[in-house]
Symmetry: none
Subunit: 212 residues, 4 copies
């Protein structure tokens, strides 16, 4: 049980349980006892791997949230033939996903609201996460520009901020509403928004006659 090879596994179990608890209750109310119980280890093990609850929280942001962000939002638009459609598609998929209490909501947004004003280390790490997110969206928009689906004069950084903000906001609303409808509204809204960013000629006439 105490073989050195188990070390990494223990660490990951703790990260997983930590992420789960932080996501369910928030970081501050998250109980160390619950986390170690869920991970199936003792507090001695936790404090061997992490210097403090804060350090565990930081590691959750740096490793778990980062990986989740990439998996769920960045990878789908990374190599898609049409990055803008892929973006909208991700949102639509999220809106139809299981409405379980965990699948819904945005862990990054949760932590951001709770910890930004309380702990500078968290704030910086979450900031970095948002920037990674925006960077991914920026790349998607730039590829859209190359495909002539987005006007060249669009401030892609600003647009990316708006897109990420509306996504985070919709995920938050969905969590409170307990259903995916806000994400659907967000997908529709972003579709309209991107429409306004298209070159003149490519604005589809059909869109204006569809009920949205």
């Amino acid at each position: 049980m105490k073989t050195p090879g188990n070390s990494d596994r223990t660490r990951e179990r703790l990260l997983g349980a930590g992420f789960h608890e932080i996501n369910r209750r928030g970081f501050q109310p998250a109980s160390i006892d619950t986390i170690v119980g869920e991970a199936g280890v003792t507090k001695g093990a936790l404090y061997h791997h992490f210097a403090s609850k804060q350090a565990l929280g930081y590691a959750v942001v740096d490793e778990v949230l980062q990986a989740g962000l990439y998996q769920r939002w960045l990878r789908p638009i990374e190599r898609a033939a049409d990055p803008l459609d892929a973006l909208i598609g991700s949102v639509r998929k999220a809106s139809q996903g299981k409405v379980g209490p965990i699948d819904i909501g945005c862990p990054i947004n949760n932590l951001a609201q709770e910890m930004s004003a309380v702990d500078e280390g968290f704030r910086q790490r979450i900031c970095a996460l948002y920037q990674r997110w925006e960077a991914g969206v920026i790349r998607a928009l730039e590829r859209g520009q190359m495909q002539a689906r987005v006007r060249r004069d669009v401030d892609v950084a600003e647009a990316a901020t708006f897109i990420v903000a509306s996504l985070a906001g919709a995920l938050g609303l969905a969590k409170t509403r307990k259903n995916g409808a806000p994400l659907g509204a967000c997908a529709a809204g972003l579709t309209h928004y991107l429409e306004a960013l298209r070159p003149e000629g490519r604005r589809p006439a059909s869109a204006s006659s569809r009920k949205v």
Copy 2:
């Protein structure tokens, strides 16, 4: 000292201190002792006015947050000649406001992220708040339709959800970033978005040539 009528003042001091602490630390980590200390009363007084910490939190949502929402986001668009411009104006004003740690961020969003999955009573109250917000935006959009600034076939409820989501998201981003830039991006984004909602003829040609 115990003049009659002090009761209401005590209650409001408690609500104020409660709002302040909840906004600073979150509801769960907020300490009753700190709240009563800030309000300048003792715990007995608090528990005379509120049955529990939870009841105080509910009252903060129902009274303080509701009033703040109206003041900051609903009233400006209520009787404005051009409700859509008033909406964008509010966002722009928020983006330029003092970047103090309290002025920034959205108390509703904070509580929503923290408490939605934890306490059903909070969730419902915050839901009601969001619905009031959306209702106000819906009325603005409907008046926009009457002014022929918004197409008749637009699903105003869905649009309102999108607008509120992007606002809440941008306020959250601004809190994490510690500056109002995301709100600026949101204002710009919403401007573009509303543009796509306008009737064909009224789409300003100048907008498409402006750097945004």
Copy 3:
């Protein structure tokens, strides 16, 4: 049980139990649980009266140790007809006292050795205690000078420091030895020492022929 009148009694029970535990184990190893158990109250009560374990420790020094010092060492020499004899008498009495684990040893010295280098607040308080002790001895020596039992040219402050140091040291030795013999040796030693402080003529010839 929760009447306001009980407040002082609870506080004193805590001080008593705190003194007891600090004296038995030392301040740092003293357990809050043991203290409250011995006092028959709960931790809530303790932290209502004292902000921290440190604050309790400070109060023990300021109140309990101070009172004990006065009772055991200062009052006996305060109004004695012959202050020097009273001083020696106190030491002799201590050397014959019950050799229980508590009666022996010097609580002040205990705390001094443990905490002087660790906590500045303790150091200052213990310093003040020692100074009170020396002040009492100084007054005794000055009265000895007026009674022509001590030479006028003796540096009474220095002598008082030496006397207090030898007392504290002997009490410490007695604690380690688990018997009062070191105090007897101290009484004998101080007798000799004071002899050397007497005016020429008053040096008793008999003393030099006694086995000491």
Copy 4:
């Protein structure tokens, strides 16, 4: 790296770090983790050399404190031409030494106060140390008797106890006061004390006219 012969060096590093920590914080609050950190080894190494924290403490007393006692207090009076002057000289030297937080104070006294009533093994070891100390002083007094500087009828064991007690007490006071003055007072006091132990004729007339 694991050259043979490193074992002893590791042991001594642990003893050194153990002594340092015990002297700084006391034995009970001393942290094994801090000790091994300071020694630059890991806990595995410590528990290979010592069965427990207690065993390390015992070894510190038996080896480090014993050596320090000999070096600082016993050797100077062992072969001195005039052992009594050498004794006083040692005290005076200590009173003028660097007033660093470590140079001052008496490690034996520290441990004695903390552990005598708590751990019988410590008590016995410290007792043995004190007895070694007294034995050294006894030999010095006996040589003083042979040099006719001390009366033959003096109880040298009792006198040695008094001298050691006053030394330990003065060292303790010096630690609390954070300066060497108590040691100066002790040197002066012991000078007077030894004066009273001299044979009649050898009592220097000059001493009684000096301001002391």
